[in-house]
């Protein structure tokens, strides 16, 4: 029998309807056939939702956070080396330590290593594009990678995805799971991208990294900051 009851665990705030995209996003065609047609049924959080998988520092290898090294076969990957760092917090501003972050992205030519990617741009034999790390005691993470490029995706005529990095996070519980994408500041493709534009105004900016001269390293790499905010605690915890 379980030793922990749901009464011992904090409840979590719901999806924020102001910042989260709807199931169906205008102009994003596959969201029509691939999203539920009926509203989700509210679920009072139980032990099942308040617990979650634990992947700590034992789950990562030393080079997992450095995408300029973890896919090397015979040299350095091509492209612009960048540092992407930030803090994982919850809505109440609490740092989220020891949480696993997984990222994946295309290379500097706009090509994913994924075998299903048919874009006619070169594979980089020295770049894999996947990485991960675990946040430190202050909820901070840091990746070294190559700046990804735009690529065509066929959603509409002449459709190009803005350069982005995919992020996947667990947070402290099953309900704090988050998968998102992070974009680069000033990209003119953002205004034409239905996936990015599917996030309501004014919260789209939460998806865009900031250029940060403090993170930038002399003679090495430009630095970007991307903080990630997970669901916070419920004001009044509910009993499961």
């Amino acid at each position: 029998m379980s030793e922990t009851s749901s009464r011992d665990l904090p409840g979590y705030a719901p999806f924020d309807p102001e910042t989260q995209p709807d199931w169906v996003v205008h102009g994003y065609h596959s969201s029509v056939s691939r999203s539920p047609g009926r509203p989700a049924i509210p679920l009072v959080q139980t032990l099942s939702e308040l617990t979650g998988p634990v992947y700590g520092h034992g789950a990562v290898q030393p080079l997992d956070h450095d995408l300029t090294q973890n896919g090397v076969t015979d040299g350095a990957p091509l492209g612009e080396r960048i540092i992407v760092t930030g803090q994982v917090l919850d809505e109440d501003g609490r740092a989220q330590p020891d949480t696993l972050i997984e990222i994946w992205q295309c290379n500097s030519a706009g090509r994913y290593i994924h075998t299903a990617d048919r874009h006619d741009a070169p594979i980089d034999p020295n770049f894999f594009g996947g990485g991960r790390c675990v946040t430190d005691g202050r909820g901070c993470y840091r990746f070294i990678t190559i700046k990804p490029a735009a690529y065509p995706w066929g959603n509409h005529p002449n459709a190009w995805r803005p350069a982005h990095i995919h992020f996947s996070l667990f947070g402290p519980a099953f309900v704090t799971r988050l998968v998102t994408q992070s974009y680069f500041p000033g990209d003119p493709l953002l205004a034409h991208d239905p996936i990015y534009m599917g996030t309501p105004v004014p919260f789209r900016d939460l998806l865009v990294m900031d250029y940060d001269p403090e993170v930038t390293e002399e003679g090495f790499a430009l630095g970007y900051r991307f903080d990630i905010v997970l669901r916070g605690r419920r004001a009044t915890p509910l009993e499961g």
Binding site: T19, T46, T51, P53
Partner: protein, 191 residues
Amino acid sequence: MRRRQTPSQTVGPFFAFGLTPGQYGYSALTGIADGTMAGPDTPGRRLRLEGRIFDAGGETVPDAMVEIWQADATGRYPDGRSNTGFAGFGRCGTGTDPEHRFVFETIRPGPLGDGQAPHLNVILFMRGMPRHAFTRVYFADEAEANASDPVLSTVPPERRSTLLAAPGSRDGVYLFDIHLRGERETVFFEP
């Protein structure tokens, strides 16, 4: 200071090398989890859960990812400190099976002791889905426990069957198809 939730964005079509590298044959990264959640030494009754995901047009989805979070055979959620090797978490993409099935080799979860029937917690991700969807898998042969489950009781009776995994042809095999839309649309939750 109050912060606003980072918006979710779709997992997209190319997650496999980052999130399920082992299943899809990418060797540069070792995955944290796959569809094999339990080994021969894991205590409990074997469970093989298989299913497909159908889109609004009735086509199987070949590029979805399913995640499962479940209690162990004693009804306890793993907290990372157990010695049984059972993490309670599994992940499977639908892109490596010719019929686009997801397959989890696991064990039957025990009852939690809080009135809930044995169940698996499921998150669904796919291209076209701007944010992930939560659902649950209950077992058709747990009729008595299901009848008093507090979550199932919030679901309209005519839709509860969409959350029931049915015994398959072999012992320990259960089938659970997910329908995104239509008459048999699976119930999704907002926890």
